[in-house]
Symmetry: C2
Subunit: 701 residues, 2 copies
């Protein structure tokens, strides 16, 4: 109990630090009246979207709540799950909401600060990112801490069980508590992703490609929608997304610690590790500053310094943590944490290697635009596919190291400890989440600032500075994505093991046969491997259709509003925002329903072995597909930017046009479908756990 107080302390520290940053931002001026006006319309659009989204999601949550309540009345589910489902959803939604609020409050301020100096721009944007990073972690720790206190009280005073049973009851209930966060994250990522990319693609197709006006040109009717999209997709979506990664990793690690016999101490370790991560991140973020006359390289150095300092504090602290909490005999767990942290950094580096124009893959990709759009598409897809190899090897090595070092014991390998090792390595990977997320979320703010600078006519110099900040954001975002993808794979594995544990807890006599020669497991594997493809098809199709509507609307306005091209008449920005909002709301439903229904359906048709196979197939294929889509998309984006820097073949050239096609295809890849697969994997795993008892009662095979 006292141990868990550290978790709440961590929550308070994180939220306080977020508030301090928010106050700091508010002190900066928002700039000219025009800037205020633009910023206000972005804010209004983003708020309107989120309001609509939460309204739609509320209906879904209400239905799910009733379903879960019925399950728990039939004793097929712990009675707290329906309520934890709601709190998880609300907290995850709040994380996205606060992130969006602060981001829309910071965009104009960043632009105005960039007028002063690059360093000031960095400060504002990074503070905005920090609010997001620390809010996500703080709310996550708060949710878990409060529920733990409640459950602990319940099992000590109301439903009295022995001390040994108590932590089993708590951990097996809480492992399902991620379901609310996962559902909300899926809606936020998919809905926000559709919105942002529909606006971006639609604006680019007609604006950049057909009409030849620059990006963020105020004459483009979709320009406000595009900026709103950055906030609802890249900020609010990412916030909800990482909130759920963070929850899933900690809760599954805690559950596996308990089944490895580590009791309350084991349960508390992932929470305390995360709390220590908050402190490490605060220390790290204090080092993010640079000289007044800094260039881009030293800016990157400043951001990196913050992350690296945090990454160095964690191993030192966690060494003592593990020794104190679990004892010197379990020091292997420390190596598991370390391996996760190192793996996250390596995957992050290779994400950058494959997608940044400072390395050869993206440079070569931009060369292939010489022979047109088709070759840049073919080579970009190839680049993404190739880039799956190293993360797979790194995750594999990390699993092996965590398993064998944490599981090492006098009499061979302790299976349960080994599996806990794999789960805690995911927590290790996410321990510096506050600061990696801060460096990630700062990107869209800088992007928006650039848009506002362009629209408000702040001049070349400011735009150049915001572009520098933005391009830096792409690099740090790549690293952040590496962490998100790597931790998703490890967490998903932990959840599969938790699923099997749950089956054993519910009915110890249930025969589980996960051999690939068992036809139900085998078919489960096939179905699981297919799901990420089906899901990506739906999300990409949604972006395609929504972008098509936006493109038609932009064309219509160009034709029907006289004076729009001369800048004498304002385009109708609101109609584009409205189309995006409606499309996103309509189109996000089917993917979400598939994610929730498929594990139940597979469970009913194929039973537990089929579900376990499906989870496994889903994780391995989803991992590879998500990396491919993210990296192809990132590389196309930066290949295009690389061409724009080239004076000979810059904007408007045939090569640039080809690169824009690549960038446009990459948009839904990297910002809608790719990241959504990570959530899909975990959501399906958690739904499987929640419905485990149900499908054990009702199944065909």
């Amino acid at each position: 109990m006292t141990l868990m107080l550290f978790s709440l302390l961590g929550a308070v520290a994180a939220l306080l630090y977020a508030v301090i940053n928010a106050i700091k931002i508010k002190k900066y001026p928002e700039g000219t009246d025009k800037m205020k006006k633009i910023s206000e319309s972005i804010r209004t659009g983003a708020k309107a979207y989120l309001r609509r989204q939460y309204r739609g999601v509320a209906i879904f949550f209400a239905i799910m709540f009733v379903v879960l309540l019925v399950l728990s009345l039939f004793k097929l589910l712990n009675m707290f799950v329906p309520f934890a489902f709601l709190t998880g959803g609300v907290f995850s939604g709040l994380a996205g909401f606060f992130g969006m609020r602060i981001a829309t409050a910071s965009n104009a301020r960043t632009a105005w600060a960039a007028k002063e100096s690059l360093n000031s721009g960095l400060k504002v944007a990074f503070s905005a990112g920090s609010v997001m990073g620390f809010v996500v972690v703080g709310l996550g720790l708060l949710d878990t801490g409060l529920w733990y206190i409640l459950l602990n009280w319940y099992y000590t005073h109301i439903n009295i069980v022995s001390e040994a049973e108590r932590i089993v009851a708590i951990s097996s209930a809480m492992v399902t508590f991620g379901i609310g966060a996962s559902c909300m994250a899926l809606f936020a990522r998919v809905g926000g992703g559709i919105f942002t990319k529909a606006a971006d693609v639609g604006a680019d197709i007609v604006g950049k490609v057909e009409t030849g006006i620059p990006e963020d040109d105020p004459r483009n009717p979709a320009v406000i929608a595009d900026n709103v999209g950055d906030n609802v997709g890249d900020v609010a979506g990412m916030g909800a997304d990482l909130y759920e990664s963070f929850s899933g990793a900690r809760l599954s690690a805690a559950a596996l610690a308990v089944s490895a016999g580590l009791g309350v101490a084991g349960f508390a370790l992932p929470m305390i590790l995360s709390a220590v991560g908050v402190v490490a991140s605060i220390i790290g973020s204090l080092f993010v500053k640079t000289k007044e006359n800094a260039d881009q390289r030293s800016l990157l150095g400043a951001l990196r310094r913050g992350t690296y300092i945090s990454s160095v504090i964690i191993p030192v602290a966690s060494y003592f943590l593990v020794r104190m909490i679990l004892g010197a005999e379990n020091i292997g767990v420390f190596f598991a944490i370390l391996s996760g942290l190192v793996a996250g950094n390596i995957i992050g580096f290779f994400t950058e290697y494959y997608t940044s124009d400072t390395y050869s893959p993206t440079r070569k990709l931009s060369d292939s635009s010489e022979t047109g759009a088709a070759t840049i598409i073919i080579n970009g897809l190839g680049l993404g596919m190739r880039s799956t190899a190293i993360p797979v090897i790194i995750v594999g090595a990390s699993v092996l190291i965590s398993f064998y070092l944490a599981g090492r014991s006098a009499d061979g390998v302790n299976m349960a400890m080994g599996l806990f090792g794999v789960a805690i390595s995911a927590v290790g990977m996410l321990s510096t989440l506050s600061i990696t997320l801060a460096t990630d979320a700062y990107g869209p703010v800088a992007d928006n600032a650039g848009g506002i600078a362009e629209m408000a006519g702040l001049g070349e110099e400011v735009r150049e500075r915001t572009d520098a900040l933005d391009s830096l954001g792409n690099t740090t975002a790549a690293t952040g994505k590496g962490f998100a993808i790597g931790s998703a794979a490890l967490t998903a594995l932990a959840l599969i093991v938790s699923y099997l544990d749950q089956i054993k807890i519910i009915d110890p006599s249930y025969t589980i046969d996960l051999s690939i020669t068992n036809p139900t497991t085998l078919i489960g594997l096939f179905v699981g491997a297919m799901l990420p493809f089906l899901f990506s098809s739906l999300t990409m199709g949604a972006v395609g259709r929504a972008a098509h509507s936006i493109a038609l609307e932009v064309r219509r306005q160009f034709k029907s509003i006289p004076g729009i091209m001369e800048g004498t008449a304002d385009p109708d920005y609101a109609s584009c925002v409205d189309i995006c909002t409606k499309s996103a709301q309509k189109q996000m439903l089917l993917p979400a329903v598939i994610a929730v229904v498929s594990p139940i359906l597979v469970g009913v048709l194929l039973g537990v072995n089929g579900v376990a196979g499906m989870l496994c197939g889903l994780t391995i294929t989803g991992f590879a597909l998500a990396i491919m889509m993210s990296n192809s998309g990132g590389a196309w984006d930066n290949a295009k930017k690389y061409i724009e820097k080239d004076t000979a073949h810059g904007k408007g050239s045939d090569r640039h046009k080809a690169a824009v096609v690549g960038d446009t295809v990459g948009d839904p890849f990297k910002d809608t479908s790719g990241p959504a697969i990570n959530i899909l994997i975990k959501l399906i795993s958690i739904v499987s756990i929640v419905f485990a008892a149900f499908t054990m009662h009702i199944h065909l095979l």
Copy 2:
């Protein structure tokens, strides 16, 4: 022994029927002198390519032969395997070679016959396809039959073992005999695929997109290379490919029959079933004819009639076969065969549904060209991803049905019989291979005929007729691909089971733990899921690079050869053929090496459980990725053709240009990477089996 004679009889029947068709074709005239000249240059190019390819492959085969010989000297491999490796390679190569010879002999004849009537054109092209189809099946049955006689003789006279042991020794040796065919198939598919798509893409990029001259225009320097490519890629590649599918399916089914305790009768069943398939295909192909004034719909009807008649004969015949050979108590095996055949047809239908412009998916895809290249790429990828769902469900259902019906016994499910059921369903799916392959291989012949008609200036009417034949070919090719993909998945599953059987035969005490909670299996699964992505990246990258060289060469010739655009000077066709040949030879090596080395490396690092996991991950992800790539590619191709039929937005319009980008991206998808994945899956499986004893001796984990 007497049973196996039916296999040889089937071989003789198939080869005889092929010869009859070849003689029939030779009687047709080759047309004008210009046609003869063009046809001759295609023939020369194709021969030169194949000669070069076989020379390169010979070195690879020599090295592999030595490796296998060393393994067999160390008693880590049956001593016949190195030699069977060679015969498999030679027979598979021969299948491709004969197919290519007859195709290059028939293209001008088809064009000339189409001048007479559509029906005559169909006759010649279909006869050419038939030669290919029956040669593949005939050589396959011949190879197996001869080896069986040799091994039977060896184990009766030289290394005398009991009758019961004899068939175990024979079947466990012969299950590895597919390795030669698989290696050759990979080279043929990858090398040929790179050649044909480099030429096609390169020719299109500069010819169609930049310069705006029509397809197959004799002024395009890459036009001959493009036509050569159809023959070395789509014909020779496909021949070698399906030869190996056919071998793999029969040999693994035979091995599993023996481990299910069915003895010689069980071993013979897949062979006899294939021999019966030859007869059924001959009968079916006799019905492929149409009235003189036939339209496209009745042409398709004619081709379909042939396939359907064969598909009806098989179930009737196999019902009696199973009763006679295995006895009435094993009649469940008949249902397994039937389920495979039905599954193949359903998957074939849905392949057509997703890729033919007579159905809504492709029509909608062509609509999305309205907003440019990016949207047609996004939607095409989405279409391919979506199209994976039904094949997965069908294969899943077929596995369940085969497993439970064939495995049904008085005391529950007989596991070994059930797994044999899954394997024999693949043989059932491929039982009508001769005729499905005939309808498939006829396509490239018609395509070439169209090219020759264009270049020789035979006039609009002839070109229209060859186009009708060609577009029909696309439809039937889709069905053929459905069979190839479906049977690859089922065969791969059978090979995984065979692998595990081999482990048990080599060392019955070896502990196999295929649970997904075993970290080595788990990492194997991850690596397996990543391999198809890595492999596709390499093959697509190869096409991209080769196409780039071709595009530069075509541009160079357009600039440097005066009078080329006016048609007064001939382009240098040979240089393009040469570039394609060299690129294909250079680039096909790495993918092949990865396919051979990765299972050995995984075996050495992770042991048997890791290899089994890898095979499983590879099969499930490869299956989905192969379907996606094939169907996206097919749909883009037909979406482009659909736009070309539209008079308002036809050739030269912006919509058409966007569709050409889609088609170009789809080229390596559908004709290089996609089909090569099927071979990759089986090759890695067979290499794992061949090196099983080796990796059981030497491994880290």
